[in-house]
Subunit: 299 residues, 4 copies
């Protein structure tokens, strides 16, 4: 039986690890990246180098994209020599980037018109998780296509969560998840400030919450880094956090959903950008929480 072909488009820190994982698992992988050097190591491991997104894709096959933002996904999909040029009848586009629900809806329509199927499949997890198959995937789209790509997603993740039939629902889940993370950062930062202003040790408070009520990755990992003020190098840039909270509020306006915590976070992130912190980690909103309380800032 021949191997399943997969086009992997977008070979950044996330995509490169995912491509390597697929190669190791025995998929027949074609790779494409806008800046070509990123493909070299993967070609050395057995991937086919594609000259364009269209060239990476097999008609009726599976295309996986992992790109930076709405503009990149739209260009790779609908632009010249894009995914839509080749994928055609029966093909499935597994779109794993964090993009707006609105773009997901538009791309799903474009695919439907071309006879192919668009799946929303954004992920939670850092590059290490991508390279080791430990991502969490939010999945939405047509049932048949979801079943077909199951082996690919199983190779990349430790869990797939089905959000429904409409592809944008996966993106709503992804940006809502990022909103909850940002809210946890702000909440912890406020609590740490309050403890500090009372003369207490925020580290002791962190130990309490992170081992009991909030014994879960976000509070444990983010709480530790907020306390250490470990904001550079960034795990996830503040400007990307600002973008994602912007997507949440944009979706809130489209659906008429008031989101007071998200609104407050948007102001925090705009302040961070205004103060030149775009390239710090998105946890760096904690700097302003502390500064507003008159607490000393890191050098």
């Amino acid at each position: 039986m021949s191997k399943t072909q997969v086009a992997m488009i977008g070979l950044g820190m996330m995509g490169a690890g995912m491509a390597g994982r697929l190669i190791d698992a025995g998929f027949d992988v074609a790779v494409y990246n806008r800046s070509p050097g990123a493909a070299d190591a993967l070609v050395a491991r057995g991937a086919r180098r594609a000259a364009s997104p269209a060239d990476a894709v097999t008609p009726g096959g599976i295309a996986v994209t992992m790109l930076a933002n709405d503009a990149a996904v739209e260009q790779i999909t609908c632009g010249e020599h894009g995914v839509l040029d080749t994928l055609g009848e029966g093909g499935v586009h597994v779109s794993m980037s964090t993009i707006s629900p609105a773009l997901a809806a538009a791309l799903a329509e474009r695919h439907a018109a071309a006879g192919s199927t668009y799946l929303g499949a954004p992920v939670f997890g850092r590059p290490e998780a991508a390279a080791s198959g430990k991502l969490w995937i939010a999945l939405a789209g047509a049932a048949e296509a979801k079943a077909r790509v199951q082996p690919v997603l199983a190779c990349l993740s430790q869990g797939v969560f089905d959000l429904g039939e409409a592809p944008p629902l996966a993106n709503v889940a992804k940006i809502s998840g990022n909103f909850l993370i940002a809210a946890a950062i702000e909440g912890m930062a406020e609590a740490f400030s309050l403890v500090a202003k009372n003369g207490g040790d925020p580290q002791a408070f962190y130990a309490l919450i992170s081992q009991t009520l909030f014994a879960c990755p976000i509070y444990q990992n983010y709480g530790r880094q907020v306390l250490a003020r470990a904001f550079s190098p960034p795990g996830f840039k503040l400007e990307l956090g600002a973008k994602d909270i912007g997507l949440v509020l944009a979706n809130g306006r489209e659906t008429h959903t008031p989101l007071p915590f998200a609104s407050l976070l948007n102001d925090r992130y705009q302040a961070g950008l205004a103060k030149g912190r775009a390239d710090l980690d998105w946890m760096a909103i904690a700097l302003d929480v502390a500064a507003d309380a008159g607490l000393p800032q890191p050098a």
Copy 2:
């Protein structure tokens, strides 16, 4: 070797379970409650019935209080026939109620003047946890006293966290922890609304977050109940949640700590009280999150 004597004052849903636990563990327990009937079952199990707080306390012994609010703790401690009347030199008052840091500071001074020691020791956990020794305890106060009461706290809890030497720090940790819980409720309620307004299933989003990033008791238990709109009977009343957020903001004003998330929660809780929801669970602030988004309300 004689058994350690412990006075257990306050036999509500929390205190009664704690007293029973101490009796079963072999402590020599004296019990007192303002409404006397609450002591009957415990006396049947071997406790000594005390006529007043002062009567429950052994000079130089250990007094544990678990009461409803600042006023009750102040009255039981400093009022006529209060704890301070008897405890005296070498005694330790383990104060486990959720009270203001300001009152904790005042009581610590009163004890110091009387030669006794005040420990802040508020707890996280529901009545079931109190009865089964599964509380989490935030502890602060003098090291020697903390060491002495260790066997008592070990009997009542699955973990003790040391917040420092100043007793109010334990109370700051307790109210800050409740603030983080309320913030998690609001955050989840906003995210659930956003998913619902997009036509998605909040239950599927809950499955995603509660099994991955936020796989911890607060998100799992509170998230499930927010989705089920299980707000009555209450596990913890909305009016008590409103009180605790009020304590957070009061402490913020005393220490000049801006707390925007807590401020927003205060407005949510005041709206809940204004709408007659004092006796619902404190998760019921989610009702207004949904109502503001135009989502249908429970019958």
Copy 3:
């Protein structure tokens, strides 16, 4: 000396009154509206009926537009048979609609490329003010063009305020002004609720503030209508208020300006839309201020 020619494009409640005012003042007015009936009365008063925006405009002349939103202004200006088709070298486009600063910047570039000049000139005032020459105008753009259109603006307004050389600055001023109005509505609504919840008479409080510290049109007129709950028919629709606050926040994101009051107002307006109040007056956000305080709602 021949009369100055003016093209008046957009004959809604605002534009029709402005066109009539220009006719009465002796300008040579050509009128255009997408739905043609709106021009009849003005043609009867002496205006020339134009078949398109391009037909209304005289090469090198003055074009005034007063339209509903960004899309309409862009279409009338850049679309087929648009203003840009005819205006050409030396012409001036006086753009009086409330649009985004971003579109104003884009249109200014398009005009510059065509040799014509774009002026941002949005207005404050209701239809009665438009018909009686009592508007207030926020003006921005090249000095020479501003001088040339001065007689036209003088005819339409009781005051022109110069915001600078860059056309979008007039739009920034307009949306910032609307933001301040919305903030005054929210502030008064909160204060009225507080007075009412204390058992007082908000009308007496309104008398105090509107005759002393806040003796100005916004507090006097809006305060009176908020108290009377006179939200229908609308003077300015809630959906338009929501749009303008959206423009403020969008500009805040583009310029990295945190705007906490505007963020809170955005949530109020989204709640209003979610509750089906798009066609009420934009003061109707006061309904939720009162409802959150448990105050009775109008029938």
Copy 4:
């Protein structure tokens, strides 16, 4: 006909001017201040120097108090040699300080028990207005007493507004008025920041709003000073603004009134205190609005 006797208690910047005004108008004035030097100039102008509040007051007469805060008013009224010692049957206490509605209610009860009448009569206006009879007075209490003190209030003010029969209603009006002023400061500061971040001139925007929609003292005077960053010496200290917003929120909690704008202002004022700005003018919250937007701070 003999002159009306008035006891004027509290001779700070406000009270001294008021006493002088009453002397000039021909009232028979007794003066008292805790630090005695403040009375000298007034005694030179004909006032009687009193040794205590009780000594200043004539039985059955009129006592006016103008003091710094709740504690001072309570002490002067109920303390040893206080107003209540002498005032007695038929006397009227005109309480003009900015205090909490809760204290006003308590003092009204104390007076009723003593046969005297308490009137809430807080004022709007700076020391210059106090000295020239140009205050605005918010008045609440029993009708007969209000009628009796009318000549005194007329001498001190350019307008008296009747808020009702319950004395605390005047205090609710006063703190709600201060809340509206603080909200106007924040609103203007946000709008000025937005204009500046767009490259515009906030002064031009100020000219527009302060001459049109918001042509009233607060926007004109405060707007000018915010732009000039004229925060020292203070006209009204930031710590007093923080106190008043605290009174607003405390009243909101007592009456279950959500007040999101006031909550946000409370955080602004706490940040101001945390940053050591207690002695700047209360407009100095604008510093953080600008700083959050990355705008340069004054030297």
